[in-house]
């Protein structure tokens, strides 16, 4: 299926999910990218941060929504806010620190100053230069239209017509909510650590965001070199799920593994989902070789406690969850894929720990995660390389005429009353990517949220 030029193709003609074809234009075309910023990033619910990053009044952390800098702030009455990081006067960044505690956000250009609740409280020369005529009340920091605190995690949207975040997540709400529990299932038991690892990958954001939690097939090739960590007894460093053979060939150690996604909403879950309820999945020791026994013991007890709490359930917030459009929430790290130009992604790694775990457990867990994940991790560094050159080699005049096949498992997904969304064997991993692409088309074509939710059409 080769098409002549992008200008002759409407967006929906660039994506044929019934046949499993997607034009490369989606990933390399700068016009499409500009539209994504409007159609997706100015409307969708996006991840901003976590309560634990700003525990005290006046605490702030600089975060990001789409291409733009935002501030997550706890005001002096302890209320959380998300503001666009721009002075209302001439647009300078009002805060250039990554995180900290402040009484005021004072612009370094003309000195306009904002309280932690966003109100403009200081305008230099207000009497002499502005004759007290400037309406300060209309010039506070620009705040998101809606913010949601989901079990400690903070999400926001610029669109006041977007549905509530809970509705946005739909039937995946419980499983994503439980991603922010402690390992043992204690509600809001996670802490998200600072600082955030931030790095730039020369690739389109969708290469990463749409394949993560939905591309089990890459493991046997991309992460082949991790075999050395298994065979040499260094497996604590490598993501167990990235081991070459087991998942794809045999399912997991406890039967067939599932991959789930919402065709309507684009969200999904990916790892460690078995056709068995959690309480029938035994704990798998993974720390004993290289860490003190307290660590293994902590996670064994946590797993058993979680199993009791979620007894009989198949989807319980462990593993990996994708929230459309650009975040993956995983047990050991959360992955954000911020658009940074059509061919650049600013990726963030945020590492979660159990708030109340002993220090020895927290340190071991973090050490493990850092060695595996992010740009200096032994696992993910190979992903970056492949996404980089997938972008480069898809961008040429000839190359971009071709389509990507998304056909693995096409037509094999099924509804399973035990879990939300549609399920496939994890081997048929491209179903989750098709779900995201289907939602992508909806966002790109919809004029407003009225057309996006509740869903108006089945593709």
């Amino acid at each position: 299926m080769v098409l002549k030029s992008s200008s002759e193709r409407s967006l929906s003609a660039l994506v044929n999910l019934d046949q499993g074809f997607v034009s490369r234009e989606l990933y390399v075309n700068p016009d499409i990218y500009q539209q994504e910023l409007e159609q997706i990033y100015a409307r969708a619910w996006l991840f901003v941060g976590h309560e634990s990053m700003v525990p005290n009044p006046g605490d702030f952390v600089q975060s990001r929504m789409g291409e733009e800098s935002v501030l997550l702030v706890r005001d002096h009455k302890r209320k959380l806010h998300v503001f666009l990081n721009t002075c209302r006067h001439r647009g300078n960044k009002v805060c250039r620190y990554d995180d900290g505690n402040t009484r005021l956000f004072t612009c370094s250009f003309h000195g306009w100053s904002y309280d932690s609740d966003g109100k403009l409280v200081g305008v230099p020369h207000y009497k002499t230069a502005f004759h007290e005529e400037l309406d300060k009340s209309a010039l506070g920091l620009h705040e998101v239209a809606q913010m949601c605190d989901l079990n400690g995690s903070i999400w926001a949207t610029w669109d006041r017509n977007a549905p509530s975040f809970e509705d946005y997540l739909g039937e995946f709400e419980p499983s994503i909510r439980h991603c922010f529990d402690a390992t043992d299932g204690t509600e809001n038991g996670a802490q998200l650590l600072l600082p955030i690892q931030k790095f730039r990958i020369p690739t389109n954001w969708k290469f990463a965001a749409f394949s993560f939690d939905g591309d089990a097939l890459h493991g046997t090739t991309t992460h082949r070199s991790l075999g050395v960590f298994i065979t040499e007894g260094l497996s604590v460093m490598a993501d167990e799920n990235s081991r070459p053979e087991p998942v794809v060939e045999r399912g997991g150690p406890f039967g067939r593994t599932l991959e789930l996604s919402s065709r309507e909403l684009g969200h999904g879950n990916h790892q460690s989902l078995y056709e068995r309820p959690i309480d029938q999945i035994p704990y798998v020791p993974s720390w004993e070789k290289h860490e003190p026994p307290e660590v293994e013991e902590y996670y064994r007890r946590s797993w058993e406690k979680r199993g009791k709490k979620f007894a009989g359930q198949y989807l319980h917030g462990r593993g990996g969850a994708h929230v459309f459009p650009n975040i993956n929430v995983q047990d050991d790290r959360h992955l954000l894929w911020h658009p940074h130009g059509v061919g650049m992604t600013e990726s963030w790694r945020i590492f979660p720990l159990d708030k109340d775990a002993p220090e020895i457990v927290r340190e071991a867990t973090l050490r493990y995660a850092l060695r595996s994940c992010g740009p200096s991790g032994v696992t993910e560094s190979d992903d970056m390389e492949n996404w980089n050159y997938a972008m480069e080699a898809s961008s040429g005049t000839i190359a971009r005429r071709l389509d990507y096949p998304f056909q693995s498992g096409l037509g094999h997904a099924y509804a399973d009353e035990r879990v939300p969304g549609i399920a496939v064997n994890q081997l048929s991993a491209e179903e989750n990517q098709r779900s995201r692409l289907r939602r992508w088309v909806q966002f790109m074509e919809a004029g407003s949220w009225d057309e996006l939710y509740p869903k108006k059409r089945e593709r």
């Binding site: 250039r96 620190y97 990554d98 995180d99 900290g100 402040t102 650590l193 600072l194 600082p195 955030i196 690892q197 931030k198 790095f199 730039r200 990958i201 020369p202 690739t203 991309t222 082949r224 070199s225 991790l226 075999g227 050395v228 960590f229 040499e232 260094l234 460093m237 290289h290 600013e346 790694r349 590492f351 220090e359 927290r362 340190e363 973090l366 050490r367 850092l370 060695r371 992010g374 740009p375 200096s376 032994v378 993910e380 560094s381 190979d382 970056m384 390389e385 492949n386 980089n388 050159y389």
Partner: protein, 179 residues
């Protein structure tokens, strides 16, 4: 500060020269991809740390570099994990280094900060240039603080290395080379 005698001055110079020579040889091993030889220079109890550099307010500079263990860093390694990284580099299947990058470690401003017994604290500046495939370039510039220990039989070993990279957002897609 007391003025050194001529003999003390010569001792200091010889030690500084010896440390420089060690660091330059180490850079040669890395640049020539002799990773298995390089790992022999690493002590069994090594701590190898590269913090993340925060943008913090004036007066909060003690928060600038993330702490090992409790905060998020770029590298927080021990001998076991460094051995793993070396083995991974030698598989030929570690795609971010296959085909292998052209890497140069430029080490300068070497100073012996403190010497006591078998141990020497040294610091230096580094420019690590990485060029790969056709036109990909990364430049890593910063400061290194090393604790070096003299083994009477096998020579100097790296007992502790802190790598202060002068970047906030990492301007590289990956950083799986050795510093």
């Amino acid at each position: 500060m007391a003025i050194d005698t001529r003999e003390q001055a010569i001792d200091r110079l010889l030690l500084a020269r010896e440390i420089e020579e060690f660091l330059y040889n180490e850079a040669e091993l890395l640049d020539e991809r002799r990773y298995s030889d390089w790992i022999e220079l690493v002590a069994d109890d090594v701590h190898y740390h590269m913090p993340i550099r925060r943008n913090v307010k004036f007066g909060e500079w003690d928060r600038e570099n993330s702490r090992a263990g409790t905060e998020v860093s770029w590298f927080d390694e021990d001998k076991l994990s460094l051995v793993g990284r070396v083995r991974q580099l030698e598989t030929g299947l570690h795609w971010c280094e296959e085909p292998a990058s052209r890497v140069r470690h430029i080490v300068s401003n070497v100073q012996v900060v403190h010497a006591a017994g078998d141990e020497v604290q040294a610091r230096c500046r580094f420019v690590v240039y990485k060029n790969r495939v056709q036109d990909h370039e990364d430049l890593f510039i910063g400061k290194r603080e090393d604790l070096l220990r003299r083994d009477p039989i096998t020579g100097w070993k790296i007992a502790k290395r802190t790598i202060i990279l002068d970047q906030n957002v990492l301007l590289a897609k990956d950083m799986n080379i050795l510093f």
